[in-house]
């Protein structure tokens, strides 16, 4: 329907709700040509609202990029047909993410996916209708970290630990800029192959800032993906401290990612085996009481989880990895983090210490590789 459309940013706005899904062949103002959709099949709006985008692969001068096109149709569905509200929300989201990416670019955060361009195009369809399309162009990754999950030898252990170390550095870089990612999950950890493999964090669409500026999703109990949300968020807790509420959430995601790349099973999946009566609605349960009254049960289930995943962790590092996952995913969000760091003034989560521990384990694995 919209193949080979012309771009004319001067035309008046007329809304086409399906346009974001039909942009293959479109040339963006920056000269990038959208060559294919990044994902096959139907991609609908996320459950948390406001997270409406469609991914494309783009080409320019023989280089490839990933383009995130903001999806007005999805936003409209979320806003019950209110076009103006949907437009406003989408514009705010686009602007918010661009601001965050500007901060990242200015600070040269090398573990965050780099932005190559951004803007807004007005697409004219064959019917003569015109629709504004905000977009952001990112460097294109070879894959994401989900490919890492399989039984591995020590060479792959070294690779995985190195990638996790990169992710932890990315988290630290964001936290250093008073930004919390809020949606760290396997599909948002991209692997790049140029100049040796490295991992970077992608998608700041659900991130939060601690500089007084807030996004619409900041008021939600769960800003990121429901499936990876820390338990306190699933139970509707809004921790008063930024450190516990946002940085603690990132750390939980990092711990879950660490468990995922070795075992394929996150704590949240295990929590689905808790009795329905004490699971929150977000986990298809019926619990309506306080988190304090169930956190002890979750801690017990978490202990069970750690015991069950241990045999799937590399023998030589299993003890330490269990301790790390235990500290990163502690269901008690006020204790989550490195215990020594938590005892310091301001009770930081100690991301720097986890970085050191992951770096040491990665180096140890590389030494074992050479010995082997």
């Amino acid at each position: 329907m919209t193949n080979n459309q012309n771009v004319d940013s001067s035309q008046a706005f007329v809304f086409d709700p399906s346009i974001a899904h039909n942009l293959v062949g479109t040339m963006l103002p920056d000269g990038w040509l959208l060559t294919e959709k990044a994902r096959q099949g139907f991609v609908g709006p996320d459950e948390t609202g406001g997270h409406f985008s469609v991914g494309y692969i783009a080409e320019k001068d023989g280089k490839q990029a990933f383009v995130k096109v903001f999806d007005l149709g999805g936003a409209l569905m979320q806003n019950a047909g209110n076009v103006m509200q949907a437009m406003m929300m989408l514009g705010q989201n686009h602007q918010y993410e661009c601001q965050l990416l500007d901060i990242c670019n200015a600070a040269h955060l090398d573990r965050i996916v780099q932005v190559l361009g951004r803007g807004q195009a007005s697409i004219t369809t064959s019917q003569g209708l015109s629709t504004p399309i905000p977009y952001i162009i990112f460097e294109r990754a070879a894959s994401d970290i989900r490919r890492a999950l399989h039984k591995a030898n020590v060479i792959e252990d070294a690779w995985r630990l190195t990638m996790l170390h990169h992710v932890a550095v990315g988290v630290q870089q964001l936290h250093g800029q008073q930004i919390a990612h809020q949606d760290i999950k396997p599909s948002n950890v991209l692997i790049f192959e140029s100049g040796g493999e490295s991992a970077k964090l992608a998608d700041l669409g659900r991130a939060s800032r601690n500089d007084g500026l807030s996004a619409a999703h900041d008021s939600l109990a769960i800003a990121g993906d429901f499936n990876y949300a820390p338990p306190e968020q699933a139970y509707g807790v809004f921790a008063p401290e930024w450190r516990d509420r946002r940085e603690g959430c990132d750390l939980y995601h990092l711990g879950a990612l660490l468990a995922f790349v070795f075992t394929g099973v996150t704590p949240n999946m295990h929590y689905m085996n808790l009795p329905e009566a004490i699971r929150p609605r977000a986990w298809r349960g019926t619990w309506t009481g306080t988190y304090e009254d169930v956190v002890h049960h979750i801690a017990a289930a978490f202990a069970d989880y750690l015991a069950r995943i241990k045999p799937d962790l590399p023998d030589w590092a299993a003890e330490e990895l269990v301790v790390m996952i235990g500290q990163m995913c502690d269901p008690d969000y006020m204790r989550r983090g490195d215990p020594d760091a938590r005892r310091q003034a301001g009770a930081p989560i100690g991301i720097d210490r986890f970085i050191s521990r992951l770096d040491r384990l990665a180096k140890e694995a590389r030494i074992k590789t050479k010995v082997a």
Partner: protein, 551 residues
């Protein structure tokens, strides 16, 4: 017969079940509801399935599995689960197990806590606690298993740690209260709740405080607040059930029967199984006819109440099954042990009594009830008399001697056991005499149930050994049984009536396998189930329904 006083008092002490079971119980529900996020939407699963189909790998398959499980749509993850299964040499074991569950269409068991029994559970819990030493639930679970192993002091230390970690947690507080009561530290059990700031606002803690006060012979501190809370009914009926039963118990004992009956009916609106057992106990005393059976049938975990309802109905085998479940539910407690042995005795299932009593004595070797039950079963089975050299017989005799010499206790039971021993070694006259002394002692203490039990056992022995006084002894037993309401004795006398007519069929008549034959006949149960005691202004009256009047 085994020692168990079916007329003993009952208090609404907190149940102490495994954490996984407690988590699904009414006791665990919040008093007030809070808002929480809604569940995720199906789009997540659709997106992940599309991603998996685009580039199938284990990581994407694992995400499909996790999302499907989170959404409760496991059937949509079969394609991913099958992929994991096909790549099993590369898949982590825990992921493979999750995939297999989905392929098999079964849910993994609840993971709240480990429920295996006793020593294995203790070892496993210690492993978990090493990883998560600050999990109060794990400490409570450890305490429960330690208590079940008879390690009461260790259990109390574990519970102390749990209380330190979760000092305001209702279930932890109630479990600690129950453990202290189990350990015989009634004052500390009461003090724990009296001093706790949550108690005056929480009906569950309040009911435990009232029960503990009665056991510790203290004045209940929160009786006024409890009555106010019950009157205002500002909380859901399920939260008030045990409190209403606890206050009703106090009212019954202070003679305020009318109030008590009102409260029992309030407790019945949405009862816990513990409240139901208490209501059953109160109903057994007052014969109010609260029609508990349909409610009991709806509550699969109401083991104690089911046991008593079945027992009162003369269904001894079913009552025993429920008592065994009750024991499994509270493996540290003495009352279900006593009930299992008591009921097994009516079925002449001596092996079960021996096994149950020995296990209980491993936990608590000083427990007289369990020792008495063991002696009765060993003597009744007779094996011990055929191998007297192993020393156990002499230890038992020594125990009986010490018990009889203890002037402060009810000696009717050890005397009856001596009577049984004398019968079994061929000194029938002396055995009869000893049973008669036992009956007389019980009579003097007003223990008519004990008297009837001794008479019944004397009758059994007289028939088994075909003594001249067998018929007379059976008549005496029937006479004694008329003075008490004991479905168990009624059941057993039916067996003895058959036995005296056919002494050659002893192995058949007294076999546990044939017990069903001696239960209360179904037509009779149905005919009398509508009988009620109605409490009127002028006092209690027996209400007989019209269909029974016509008979």
């Amino acid at each position: 017969m085994t020692a168990y006083n079916e007329k003993s008092k009952r208090r609404v002490v907190p149940r102490w079940r495994s954490a996984a079971v407690a988590a699904s119980s009414k006791e665990f529900r919040p008093l007030r509801n809070r808002a929480a996020p809604s569940p995720a939407r199906d789009n997540d699963l659709l997106r992940r399935l599309a991603e998996f189909k685009e580039v199938p790998n284990l990581g994407r398959a694992a995400e499909v599995l996790a999302t499907a499980v989170m959404l409760g749509k496991e059937e949509h993850a079969r394609v991913a689960a099958t992929f994991i299964r096909q790549n099993e040499s590369q898949a982590p074991r825990i992921l493979l197990a999750a995939a297999q569950s989905i392929i098999d269409g079964r849910r993994p068991p609840s993971v709240s806590v480990h429920i295996e029994k006793d020593a294995k559970a203790v070892a496993h819990l210690r492993v978990l606690l090493k990883a998560r030493p600050k999990s109060a639930i794990l400490w409570v679970e450890l305490a429960r298993h330690q208590a079940a192993l008879g390690e009461t002091e260790k259990a109390q230390k574990s519970m102390q740690i749990a209380l330190g970690l979760a000092p305001d947690h209702r279930w932890v507080l109630r479990s600690a209260n129950r453990l202290l009561l189990h350990a015989g530290n009634e004052e500390a059990a009461h003090r724990l709740l009296v001093k706790h700031p949550r108690t005056p606002h929480d009906p569950w803690l309040m009911s435990a405080e009232l029960a503990s006060a009665l056991i510790a012979h203290k004045e209940p501190k929160f009786i006024r607040q409890a009555k106010d809370m019950l009157r205002h009914r500002s909380l859901h009926a399920s939260h008030l059930s045990e409190l209403a039963a606890a206050v009703a118990t106090i009212e019954l004992e202070t003679g305020a029967g009318k109030n008590a009956r009102k409260l029992l009916r309030q407790a019945l609106i949405d009862p816990t199984e513990n409240a139901l057992a208490q209501i059953e106990w109160a109903d057994r005393e007052s014969h109010d006819g609260l029609a508990l059976e349909p409610i009991v049938r709806r509550m699969p975990d109401a083991y104690e109440a089911t046991c008593w309802v079945k027992y009162n109905d003369g269904q001894i085998e079913d009552a025993l099954t429920a008592a065994q479940e009750w024991l499994q539910d509270e493996p540290f407690a003495n009352r279900p042990v006593g009930m299992v042995c008591y009921l097994a005795a009516f079925l002449d299932d001596f092996d079960l009594i021996i096994k149950t009593a020995r296990e209980a004595l491993e936990r608590d070797s000083e427990q007289v009830l369990h020792r008495n039950n063991l002696i009765y079963a060993l003597l009744s089975k007779g094996q011990i008399l055929r191998a007297p050299d192993d020393g156990e017989l002499y230890k038992l005799i020594d125990f009986l001697k010490r018990r009889i010499a203890d002037k402060d206790s009810d000696v009717s039971h050890p005397l009856a056991d001596v009577g049984l021993l004398l019968y079994r070694i061929g000194r029938f006259q002396e055995g009869r005499k000893m049973y008669e002394i036992s009956m007389s002692v019980a009579e003097k203490r007003g223990n008519y149930l004990g008297r009837a039990l001794a008479a019944t056992m004397n009758s059994r022995e007289a028939i088994l050994f075909q003594t001249a006084w067998a018929k007379e002894a059976l008549n005496e037993a029937h006479k004694a049984a008329k003075r008490v309401v004991s479905p168990g004795i009624t059941f057993y006398l039916r067996k003895l009536d058959a036995l005296i007519g056919a002494p050659d069929k002893v192995s058949k008549i007294l076999s546990p396998k044939n017990a069903a034959k001696w239960g209360t006949p179904e037509p009779f149960r149905n005919a009398v189930k509508d009988l009620r005691i109605v409490h009127t202004e002028s006092g209690p009256e027996l209400w007989v329904p019209e269909h029974l009047m016509k008979r």
